[in-house]
């Protein structure tokens, strides 16, 4: 009995596209990105691997990544999804609004990491809660505007709704003291999720970097 071919829509596409936008990842991270159960993610990944679209890196990594064929398939599937729903104009418009917010998000991440003291950019050691609170307050203000863009995107293509959830989660965790959820590379931090959203918009619209 042969395995079913991976689905070009639904969860097959979600899992493939999560690797396209987030780079190599293990089950937990793909599950977080897609909102699926780890077991469902694993099942889809195995189907995708049999089809030659993803590959599993063992040797101390235990992560999955796209193959060249997977990258090509993703571009095709994601374009089909975009055009089938007639979503291109709405996603393009939302992307342009995202681009207005993007420099401000990067400013905020920089302010989180470095603060000027006597004109010297100094590593923010997070010993001054009032400074951190001020920066997080600006994150919250930006997040409100980002929520509008995410809502427009989700209305055009429902899978974008996941970013709203993940950004809100990151900000909640940061506000409750888990500071690595702002701009660190390890966690599903605000910056990490934002960068994946940026990559997703570029991939979805077929815009080269």
């Amino acid at each position: 009995m042969s395995r079913p071919t991976p689905r070009r829509t639904g969860s097959g596409l979600l899992v493939l596209h999560a690797l396209r936008c987030g780079g190599h990842a293990g089950l937990t991270r793909v599950a977080a990105a897609t909102g699926m159960d780890e077991s469902d993610v694993e099942s889809e990944l195995i189907d995708l691997a049999v089809a030659g679209l993803v590959t599993h890196l063992a040797a101390g990594f235990d992560v999955w990544g796209l193959t060249d064929a997977g990258r090509v398939a993703d571009a095709e599937w994601i374009t089909d999804e975009l055009e089938a729903g007639g979503a291109r104009p709405a996603v393009t418009a939302a992307y342009e609004r995202f681009l207005v917010l993007n420099p401000e998000l990067l400013d905020l991440c920089t302010a989180w990491q470095l603060r000027p003291i006597d004109g010297v950019m100094t590593v923010n050691d997070h010993s001054d809660p009032s400074y951190d609170t001020r920066v997080l307050g600006r994150f919250a203000a930006l997040d409100q505007r980002a929520a509008v863009v995410c809502a427009e995107l989700a209305a055009a293509l429902p899978r974008f709704g996941r970013y709203r959830t993940r950004l809100a989660e990151a900000l909640d965790r940061a506000n409750s003291g888990e500071l690595e959820y702002v701009a660190d590379h390890v966690a599903a931090s605000y910056h990490t999720v934002w960068a994946q959203l940026h990559e997703d918009l570029l991939a979805t619209l077929g815009i080269p970097r």
Binding site: H24, P103, V120, M121, D184, H185, E199
Partner: protein
């Protein structure tokens, strides 16, 4: 006039009224240095605009009068079909908010004026390039996006060399402005000017600018001035160009001019990092008269500010013009060296030298640096995004970085980074990217990981197929050993000497002066010695 002041040596008002940029231009006038003719709309007008939601009564009339004066000073006609006058419109608050507000170049190049300028110069390509600059900078300001980037796609610098694409780009930008449903760009010069002033005022309250002020404790009600000056064209011909210069090296504090120059381009290209710049000293060989004038100007502004300085300049057909000046704001070891040497030169007193250096600077004095960049083989230069030195073999892809990291340290070199590069960034010891500045994705991640990083290397080309990268016409293969300095933004071949005490001799002398002031010669930490001197000086 109520809202407008001329840019001249006679103006006495402070930066709080004129904005810091215009205040600096007035200082340049007093020093007898060449500044394009112009005027400034004061921050008072901006505050009135913020209160009333429109340009204050009387400003349109004052703008018309001031333009008549500018026409008389330049012998040209604003929006005219013959000898048309084009102007730059720039923001300039009393406090520094770099990159937060708008600039419009070549304003007044209406369809008719462009035709007139083409007839006058006999250089249709120059005029087309200038009109493209006008439309893209104006459209970007109105729509609050990087219009040229959207219309042209990634990469792409727009100097004299790219004339063929300019007409298509102009069409694309005009289409984009129509699509956005914003106001079309008027083809009337006076109306363009009013709209540009209004747009610069509005940009004071853009969300990003508000965020910047919140983070830097800058009051929201300050407002910005607007500077209007006759254009000088860095894209006029092969003997024209633009650049930025420090009177001393901002990385080391050494008393040698330092900066970038770009031939055949207008000013924004240097700052935006869209184009490949050359080291400042290239100017000495190609335009010796401009070089000599610039060196003399740097000497005079240092004397005036009694500090290392930064200037932005343009040269048109072999003539130098200064567009901005400010103190250099050096940090770390460079601040220590400049303060000490300025005291030696008797430009400042030893007490002033001590107060010029913050105890916080001393923490950065010992950051590892490439010891003698002048002797190292520098293959590329960008912006230092995370201080420190990293030495390793070049990898041009994330896959290569992960693979090679098993055998020793790796420097990951990428055009820019995306989430796909996270494994490579994690595996690498240091990071180099082509696009993006000190707030780019790569810079944010590098700092989160505490890894030295150089970003925004202009002209960086990564050839993944050939497993090599290059900048400035040189090629470096994967596996080559390089050293990067995340403070200065230098990338050197091999492993040149690294030092943590580049400013040691200067620091020892400065701290000896500190002990003399405080009267305390006991063994203490360096920052404590300086703080004690500051405390004494502030009591007297």
């Amino acid at each position: 006039m109520r809202w407008i002041r001329p840019l001249s040596a006679r103006v006495r008002e402070p930066a709080e009224v004129l904005g810091a940029k215009a205040h600096g231009l007035v200082a340049l006038h007093r020093l007898g240095l060449p500044v394009p003719a112009g005027f400034v709309v004061t921050v008072e007008a901006c505050r009135a605009f913020m209160r009333e939601g429109r340009l204050p009564a009387g400003l349109a009339e004052e703008l018309a009068i001031a333009m008549t004066g500018l026409e008389a000073a330049t012998g040209r006609r604003f929006g005219g079909a013959q000898a048309p006058l084009a102007v730059s419109v720039r923001s300039g608050a009393s406090v520094s908010m770099p990159g937060m507000m708008n600039t419009v170049l070549n304003l007044g190049l209406t369809t008719e004026a462009s035709a007139g300028l083409a007839t006058e110069t006999g250089d249709a390509r120059f005029v087309l390039n200038s009109r493209l600059r006008f439309l893209s900078s104006f459209a970007s300001a109105i729509t609050n996006t990087d219009v040229l980037g959207v219309a042209a796609g990634p990469g792409g610098a727009h100097g004299r060399g790219t004339g063929d694409g300019d007409a298509q780009l102009i069409e694309a930008i005009e289409k984009l402005v129509r699509q956005r449903g914003g106001r079309p760009i008027p083809d009337d010069a006076a109306r363009q000017l009013e709209l540009a002033v209004e747009t610069v005022f509005s940009s004071w309250d853009a969300p990003r600018a508000r965020t910047y002020r919140e983070l830097h404790d800058i009051p929201h009600d300050l407002g910005t001035a607007v500077i209007v000056q006759a254009m000088v064209f860095g894209n006029r011909d092969d003997r024209s160009g633009t650049g930025v210069a420090f009177s001393r090296d901002p990385n080391t504090g050494e008393n040698v001019p330092f900066g970038d120059v770009l031939f055949g381009h207008q000013g924004e290209d240097v700052v935006s990092g869209r184009s490949r710049t050359l080291p400042l000293h290239e100017l000495a060989a190609r335009e010796p008269a401009v070089w000599t004038a610039l060196i003399e100007a740097l000497r005079r502004v240092e004397g005036h500010y009694r500090d290392a300085c930064y200037v932005e300049f343009t040269f048109q057909a072999g003539g130098l013009w200064l567009l901005q000046v400010r103190p250099g704001r050096f940090v770390g070891g460079a601040a220590v060296r400049v303060a000490t040497e300025l005291a030696d030169e008797r430009l400042i007193t030893r007490r002033e030298a001590l107060l010029r250096v913050s105890p916080h600077h001393l923490r950065h004095v010992r950051t590892p640096r490439i010891a003698a960049p002048a002797k190292a083989d520098i293959v590329a230069r960008g912006v230092g995004a995370c201080p420190g030195v990293a030495v390793g073999k070049v990898a041009t892809t994330t896959e290569a970085a992960v693979r090679m990291a098993a055998d020793g340290p790796v420097i990951l070199v990428r055009p820019e980074t995306s989430p796909h590069d996270m494994r490579g960034l994690a595996a690498a010891t240091g990071i180099v990217t082509g696009r993006g500045g000190s707030a780019s994705h790569a810079a944010v991640v590098a700092r989160a990981m505490g890894k030295p990083a150089v970003v925004g290397v202009t002209g960086l080309v990564v050839d993944v197929a050939a497993a090599s990268w290059g900048a400035d016409g040189r090629t470096v293969s994967e596996g080559t050993l390089v050293t990067i300095d995340g403070t200065s933004g230098e990338v050197a071949l091999g492993s040149p000497p690294v030092s943590t005490d580049a400013a040691d001799a200067h620091l020892r002398r400065l701290l000896a002066w500190a002990d003399d002031v405080s009267g305390d010669h006991s063994e203490r930490e360096e920052a404590q010695r300086l703080s004690a001197a500051h405390a004494t000086l502030r009591h007297h």
